[in-house]
Every structure is written in C-alpha cells, then in structure tokens.
C-alpha cells in the first residue's frame, strides 16, 4: 500500500503549502541559512577569512530571493491547476454515465438519510442531556419490594419516614426532593373549569433541578413542612392560557380542587416557571408544596418518588454503593419493613427514557444494517465501474500519464459522488426526522429534544464517504501498480473479463443480500407479530365506547357526596340521545397495565414470603359494566344495584383466567377473597365472567372486579364514566359536559378517550417499530436489488465479447439468458443461505418484541426467501435480456 502512503504524504505537503504558507516560508528561510552556514564554515576551515567566506558563499549560492521565488512556484502552482481540471473531467465523466451516477448517489443518500434520521431520534431521546443545570448529577429514587418482603413490585413509591431517613443520613447528595403528581380542578382565570396535572412536591425540587423562575419565585423551604403554605407556582403555559400572560397574576389567589385535600384553601400564585419546565413528567401545569411530616413514623404508606442531586465530587456509583449499604442497615433496624424492601437509585435520564430504550436500540441495530448494505452497494458499484475503466487507465498509463494523476482523477470523482450523495442524504435525513416525529404518536419520551443531530450526520456521512474513497481508489491503485504494458495487452486482447476483481464484487453482493435477508426477516417477524396483536380478540365489544375521567376535589365532595354525584351523572347521561348505556370503571381496559395487584384466598396457606397468596389486577366497576362490554357471565351472577349500596357485604367477580389459575377443577363461586392487607374484610366471589385483555394486548393477567361504590373512600372520587353509544362516541362529549355543568359548574372532565383511541395508543409503539422496520426492509430490498443488478449488468457489459463469441458459435438467445440469470441466482442463493443462517442465530433478540410469533417462524423465513429470489430474478432479468440481444458481430468488433 505504498502508493497510498505516498499519496497521504503528498496531500499533507500540498495542504501545508495551502493552509500554512508562513510556516513553509519560514522553513525555506531556515533551510537556506543552514546551507550558507555550512558553506561558510567549509571555506573558513580551508583558511579563508570569515568575511571572504561569507561573500563566496553568497556568490556560489546565487540570488537568494530568486531561488526562494522559484521554490515557491515549485511547491504550489501545479496543484491548483490540476484540481480544477480534474473536477471538470470528473463531472464530464459522471454526466456520461448517468445511470451509475444516479444509483451511487441514491445509495449514498439512502444510507446517510435513513441512518441519520434514526440516529437523531435515538440520540435525542437516549443521549441528549436533560434540560437542567449539570443534568448528569441528577438521580431518581424509588423503592423496591423483593419477593422476600411478601410483595413483588420491582418499583414502588416512597413514604415519608424513608425520605427523611435517607435525607438525614446520606452523605452523597447535595439535596433530595419528594415529587408526586395530582389532578387539580381549576376554575380561576379564563375559560371553562379544567382538570390539570399538577406537581405536589417538596420545595427542594426547585433546588435540586436548579431551574430559576420566569417570574416571581419558586417554592422555598419555608413553604414546605408538615403543614405547607397555601402557595403555588404555575407553568408558563398555564400563565399564558388562563391568565393571558399578565404579570399582575402574582399574588392573586386561586382555588385548587384536589382529590386528596379535604379543605379548600385558596392558594397564592407566587411564581411562573419558564416555558418547557415540567417535572415530574410531561404537561405539569402547576406546583404546590407536598405535606411532609418528619414526625410521621408509619412505614406502610408510600405516595411519592424522589429525585436528588449528587454532591460535588460524588459519582453515581459512590452514591449507589452508599444507598445499598444503607438498605442493609435498614433491614436490620426495621425487620418488619425493610427486609426485601428499600430505596434504590438510577440516573434521572435513565428513568425518563424508561422502556423506550430497548425499542430505540433495536431500531438503531436495524438501521446499522441499512448503513452496512449501503456501503456494500457503493463499494460494488465503484468496483464495477473501476473494472470497466481498466483499459482506459492502461492506455493512459502507457501514454505516460503519471500514476498519481490517474489516482487524483479517481479521487476527484469519488469526492464528487460523495458530495452529491451527502447533499441528497442531508435532505433525506431532514425529511426523515420530521417524518419519524410525525409517525410517532407521542408515546416515546423526550421527543421535544429530538433534532437533526450534527454529530450523527458527520459520522454516517463519514462512514459512507470513506467507503466511496476506498473503493473508488481501489481499482485505480491496482491498475497503477501493474506494468502498463501488461495491463494494456491484457485489456486490449482479452475478450473475457478478469476473474479476480469480479470475485471481490461477488463477495460484496453476497454479503449485501445476506444483510438484506436478516433485515427483511426481522421486519417480517414484526409484521406477523403486529398482525397477531391486531386480530387478537380482546374478549369484549370495543365498538362505540366513550370513557370520561373525573377527579372530584375532596374539599367539596365527601365519599358519600361523590357517590351521589356519580349516580346523578349516570342518570343525566343515560337520557341523552344516542346513549345505549352508562356505567363506571376505575380504569378503562387496555389503557395501562396494573400487574401489581395481590389478594388472598380464604383458607389457603400464605406464602412463606408474605400474607397474600395470589396475584391479579383489580378493577372497580359499575353494575352494568359486563353487560355493556358484552363480557359473558360464565357462572354465578353479575353485580346488582344492592351490591353498590353503602355498607353492602363485599362481593367480587373473577374472570376465567383467575378461576382456572386459582380454582382449577373447583367452583370459585361462594369462596372468599381479601385484597391488600390482612386488615381488610373478606369479599365473596359471586360469579365468574369471561376473560378480557384488561391489562393490554398480549397480557393475560387474572382480573378481579369489585363494585365501584365499595372501593375505599378517597379512590371513589376518581372514576371513569363509561358510555356505550349508538353512533360516533366523540359526539357525546359535549352532552356529557352539559350534564356535568348542570350538576356542578365548578367541575370538569379530566380527560376523554374512545375505545378506538385507546386501542390506537396501545398499538402505537408496535406500529411505530413495524413501520420503521418496513421502511428499512424496503430500503434494504431496493439496495440489494441495485447491487445484484449492478454486478450482473456490468458482468454482461464486460463479457459482451465472450457472449458475442458464444452467439457466433451458435448459442441460442435463451441459453445466453439462462447463463446470465443463473449467475444472478447463484449469487442471490448464496447470500440468501448466509442471511437465513444469520437470521436463525440472530432473531432471538427480537423475542421481547414479538407476540405469538416464534423468532424462527418458518412462514416468515419462507416468505422472505421467496421475496428475495423474486426481486433478484427481476434484477438479473434486465441485464440477461440485454445479453441475449447482443449481436455477435457488434460484440466482436468492440474489441
């Protein structure tokens, strides 16, 4: 690879002459002085006086300035002239083969565009720092319940004794804060009453995050404590929306209707936060101090999470080690509470990214394949073109063109292609990021920090362009190294093409096909899995259902008052035109999963680890719930009106999957179960109903229902009204709002969903992954086809002479065509086998993303093989037809 080294050396000295002329000038000066000094010393040694020696040296040297000028000329002029000439030549050449130019630029652009767009989303979500001061020092803390604690929740909320114990004892944190959210009914300001998400936080949250207020002040330490001050800080959005951006809003009083606050004290607005500030979670509209009493010792309640800022010089690992050691202590001090239960921490960024990480990394892997395929394609196209140039290069070599000149020309051409591909790629990337954001239905976190990522663009463009240069130069280097005479003779007289370079190109195409197969198999599996999710029967009638969430403030509604409110709401909505039926539920099916529920069956042995024997999610529903959703009653009875009366004996419905799991071969009806702690009363199982996918598609978790009015008091204030409609459910929203206004003008619907919207949301992420995978697979297929087409059609062009001879010797058109097609199929077949082998080994990583499809699903593998072979046949068909049409005479005359 000597020529490459010498090229780098020469590029370096060119660049130096260009970029640092003063340094070059100085070196020249030094070089001349060194020469004169040695010359003078020599003369002095020979006995001349210093003065005479100096004179002689200057005369012998000749005009110093003249030679400096000549040297400068020798260094620079040729370079500039050649570059312009090479650019012109390369442009003319590219114009002469528009097909090659277009394919190469398209490939480069697809590679750069797709990779950059996806990388940008991934880096925006996963890597972009949080929008706070020194965000790398922020941590998130919560608790865990390991099975040895009697519960099994990987993540659970924190309680105040835990908060204060940690806050007082730790030496790793500058500051910690307790944060939680509430739904707040807001009537102040412009517009209808609305329910907004609010942060109920310790004032230290603002110290931890270090975000200064936009107006006024944040919450301060004096606002907190066991009996917090009636003050609130509002978001920029709320300030603009409800208060018209009026700064006199500071100091005014607003009433915050909250489920958890029994007395209604107007709160003073003391500050406005800057736009975009929203913690914890998106869409927080105001912040109020959370009551935290250091005197409270009940360790059984948990109702907030924690954030903290690492102290100066403390690493996350040190803080993590400290909290783990602390938990070992707690387990000893509080054996009743902290065996298998305690605080853990993770970087706040990891918490906010959440489970999107796996999805994004998967997509990143897939797009990495696209990049590799694009590189392979560019390589094979350039190699093919180089092959076609052998003869020209040989002739020019023989005519005396410098090896470097020819290399330089190839370099210029590669450069132009890379620039063209890069420019189109940049546009594709820009469009791609926007398309991805439009496609993503908002269930990825942190999307507001996604933008076209410059670093990523530089990386992908670099990767693809490097390929361009490498493979653009390779043929020229091979040619330049060979003896011009041999190469010329070779290219001039040989009618068949050389074997060696074609073998390399075939290897590249095989690799490319294999990579495409891997990607398409992945996409195929995702398609099958998604179809299974779509057609999965949820077990109930999803047509025409409207859910409206309510959250009644405790200060205005006693538990009895809220039961009454909901009864009157039900009556009012039931008589609206277009309503088929009305009921309630504590949460709509499919919307989120709740796999934390535990219960105990009377008479069963408790597990060694805790007081409860069984797991299952629980839902509180109105008496008409199962009828309206068309969930069949298997045995026993459904809830009746009498079950909803205050003080009615506790009753429960279980679904089939709970019955099969916990009462196999038994009738659950008449058995008694108990939820949560052993202090709660027993409830009797009165019926068994059909299973529905309550916790979301693909999750079959035992579900237990109890009557809505039997739920513990504060939970009863928050419910979903469920309306079964005759037509479009959204059309009923205004009607429901009117009924609410008639009952209490101070209340509002917190949020509304139709069942269709809920289903859309739950399928949003699989659909997002599927769409991207399909795009990548499509790109891979197109690139693969280009690769096969390119290599076969250049092969045909090079073998035109050979084909001519075959034809002249009597070969049929069909046999020539079969020969070329066979060649294409052998390449594809090899790539296919390698790819399928790789897929067998590799698709296991998809398991977590697949629903009822095995990673080795034979249908997918066969279908992909069929598609690849079909596309390859098509890609080889055009060159084959051209080959069969070769006129023997013309072909022979070419040589």
């Amino acid at each position: 690879m000597k020529p490459i080294m010498s090229i780098f050396y020469r590029i370096r000295i060119w660049l130096r002459s260009f970029l640092r002329p003063e340094a070059v000038e100085q070196e020249l000066e030094m070089e001349f002085r060194h020469h004169l000094e040695l010359e003078i010393e020599k003369s002095v040694r020979e006995g001349m006086s210093l003065r005479a020696a100096r004179r002689k040296a200057l005369i012998d040297f000749g005009g110093v300035e003249r030679f400096k000028e000549q040297t400068r000329e020798a260094r620079s002029t040729r370079f500039g002239e050649n570059v312009v000439a090479d650019l012109r030549l390369a442009l003319r050449r590219l114009k002469k083969s528009p097909g090659f130019t277009l394919l190469t630029i398209l490939t480069l652009a697809l590679g750069i565009g797709a990779t950059t767009a996806t990388f940008s989303v991934v880096s925006g979500v996963l890597l972009e720092p949080l929008p706070y001061d020194e965000p790398e020092n922020l941590v998130y803390m919560n608790t865990y319940f390991l099975p040895e604690s009697g519960y099994d929740f990987p993540e659970y909320a924190v309680g105040s004794p835990e908060y204060f114990d940690y806050k007082n004892a730790n030496r790793s944190m500058e500051e910690v804060a307790a944060v939680s959210t509430e739904s707040v009914t807001l009537t102040a300001g412009q517009g209808d009453p609305e329910v907004v998400r609010a942060g109920w936080v310790s004032p230290s949250m603002f110290t931890v995050l270090r975000t200064p207020p936009f107006l006024g002040r944040t919450l301060v330490e004096a606002d907190g404590g066991p009996d917090p001050a009636a003050v609130t800080v509002i978001s920029y959005d709320l300030w603009q929306r409800r208060f018209g951006g009026d700064s006199t809003v500071l100091g005014s009083l607003v009433t915050l209707g909250v489920e958890i606050q029994e007395e209604l004290v107007p709160s003073e607005i003391v500050g406005v936060m800057p736009p975009g500030f929203s913690h914890p979670g998106p869409g927080i509209q105001l912040w109020a101090p959370l009551a935290l009493d250091p005197a409270r010792t009940d360790r059984g309640s948990h109702w907030f999470t924690m954030i903290g800022r690492l102290a100066e010089g403390v690493t996350f690992e040190e803080a993590d080690t400290e909290v783990k050691a602390m938990m070992e202590q707690w387990a000893i001090i509080y054996p009743d509470h902290h065996v298998g239960h305690g605080l853990f921490m993770k970087p706040l960024l990891d918490h906010e990214v959440g489970d999107a990480r796996a999805t994004l990394l998967l997509l990143l892997g897939a797009v990495g394949f696209v990049l590799l395929i694009a590189c392979a394609n560019v390589a094979s196209l350039l190699l093919a073109r180089g092959e076609g140039r052998r003869r020209e290069v040989a002739v020019r070599n023989a005519l005396g063109a410098g090896r470097t000149r020819i290399l330089q020309e190839h370099l210029t051409e590669s450069f132009l292609l890379a620039v063209g591909g890069g420019a189109v790629g940049l546009i594709l990337a820009w469009v791609g990021v926007r398309a991805l954001l439009a496609l993503e239905p908002g269930n990825l976190p942190r999307l507001d920090s996604v933008g076209l990522d410059g670093r990523v663009l530089a990386f992908t463009a670099g990767a693809v362009m490097l390929t361009t240069f490498l493979f653009g130069l390779m043929p020229a280097l091979q040619e330049a190294r060979s003896n011009p005479g041999d190469a010329l003779r070779d290219a001039g007289t040989r009618i068949t093409a050389g074997v060696r370079p074609i073998r390399l190109r075939k290897g590249i195409v095989v690799a490319e096909v294999a990579l495409s197969v891997l990607l398409i198999v992945g996409a195929g599996l995702m398609v099958r899995s998604f179809r299974n999710l779509l057609v999965e029967n949820p077990g109930f009638d999803t047509e025409n259902l409207l859910f409206a969430r309510f959250s009644l403030p405790a200060a205005e509604y006693t538990p009895e008052g809220s039961v009454e409110f909901y009864e009157r709401l039900e009556e009012g909505v039931a008589v609206l035109p277009g309503v088929v039926g009305v009921t309630y539920t504590s949460r709509p099916p499919l919307l989120w999963h709740d796999q934390e529920g535990r219960f105990h069956i009377e008479g069963r042995p408790v597990t060694a680890t805790g007081p409860l024997c069984c797991v299952g999610s629980t839902v509180a529903v109105g008496e008409q719930f199962h009828e309206l959703l068309g969930v069949p009653l298997i045995r026993g009875r459904l809830f009746g009106l009498e079950d909803q009366l205050p003080g009615a004996p506790g009753v429960v419905l279980v679904d089939e999957s709970a019955a099969e799991r916990y009462w196999p071969g038994e009738d659950p009806v008449g058995k008694r179960v108990r939820f949560g702690s052993d202090r709660l009363p027993w409830s009797e199982v009165v019926g068994v109903v059909g299973s529905i996918t309550y916790d979301g598609p693909g999750i079959g978790f035992p579900t237990l229902y109890h009557p809505a009015n039997q739920t513990p008091n504060f939970a009863a204030r928050s419910r979903y009204l469920l309306v079964k409609t005759a037509g479009e459910p959204r059309a009923l929203v205004d009607g429901v709002r009117g009924v609410v206004r008639g009952l209490d003008p101070g209340q509002a619907i917190a949020s509304t969903y139709t069942m269709d919207e809920i289903q859309g949301r739950t399928l949003a992420r699989p659909r997002f992954i599927l769409t991207l995978f399909s795009v990548f697979a499509g790109v891979a297929l197109v690139l693969g086809a280009i690769g096969i087409y390119g290599v076969i059609s250049y092969g045909v062009a090079l073998r035109a002479g050979e084909i001519g001879i075959r034809r002249a010797l009597g070969a049929e058109e069909s046999s020539v065509m079969a020969m070329v097609l066979r060649q294409g199929m052998v390449l594809t077949g090899t790539g296919l086998l390698v790819g399928l082998g790789g897929a067998l080994a590799g698709t296991r990583i998809l398991t977590g993303f697949l629903h009822e499809v095995r990673p080795h699903d034979p249908v997918t593998f066969l279908a992909v093989a069929g598609v690849i072979l079909g596309v390859a046949l098509l890609a080889a068909f055009f060159p084959a037809r051209r080959a069969s049409g070769v006129d023997p005479l013309v072909a022979l005359r070419v040589e």
């Binding site: 000597k2 010498s6 001349f32 060194h34 020469h35 000094e37 040297t71 020798a74 260094r75 090896r403």
Partner: protein
Amino acid sequence: MTDRQADLLQGTLDLLILKTLALGPHHGWGVSQRIQQMSKEVLQVNQGSLYPALHRLEHRGWIAAEWGTSENNRKAKFYRLTKRGRAQLQTEEAQWRRFSEAVEWILEKG
C-alpha cells in the same frame, strides 16, 4: 537563460539529485557537495538552484523530507529517496543513456 536551456538543466539536475540521494538521505548542502565530488568538480551547480528542484521533486513524491539534526548539531531538512523516486531514477537513467548515445552517435557520424 532561454526556456529550453532551463528545461535541459532542470532535467539533468533532477537526475543528479535522485542519483545522489540514492546513496542515502542528506540535506541540501550535502547534496550539492556530493554532486560536486561525484562529478570530480567538473559540474558546477549553482547551489541555490538546487532548492527549487528539491521542492519540486518532493511535490512529485519522488523524494520525501523531514527535519532532523545535522552533523554539526543544527536543525536541517533531510531529503530521502522514496520507492517511487527510485523507480523514477531508473527511468531517467535509461533515458539519459539513450539520449547521450544518440548524441554520441550523431557526433561520430558527423
């Protein structure tokens, strides 16, 4: 100096520089001394004209340069022949022989 003379001189000087550096790397002054010694003081190269030639050869990739310390402990730019320069030397030597043979032949015939 007319152009043609310059060309002739330049070509010859290139050959001499390449030949000199084929014996080992040296700095500019050293090259001029060696050319004089080797040509038994017959060829008087104008010492300054050596430098445009050295830099031109460097740009063509026939010789490479790097800074080092000279025999009397001074910083000096050392030139050495590259692999391509060696090939170029062979070509130029052959060309020179053919040229001088041709000239000799003409002189004898004349």
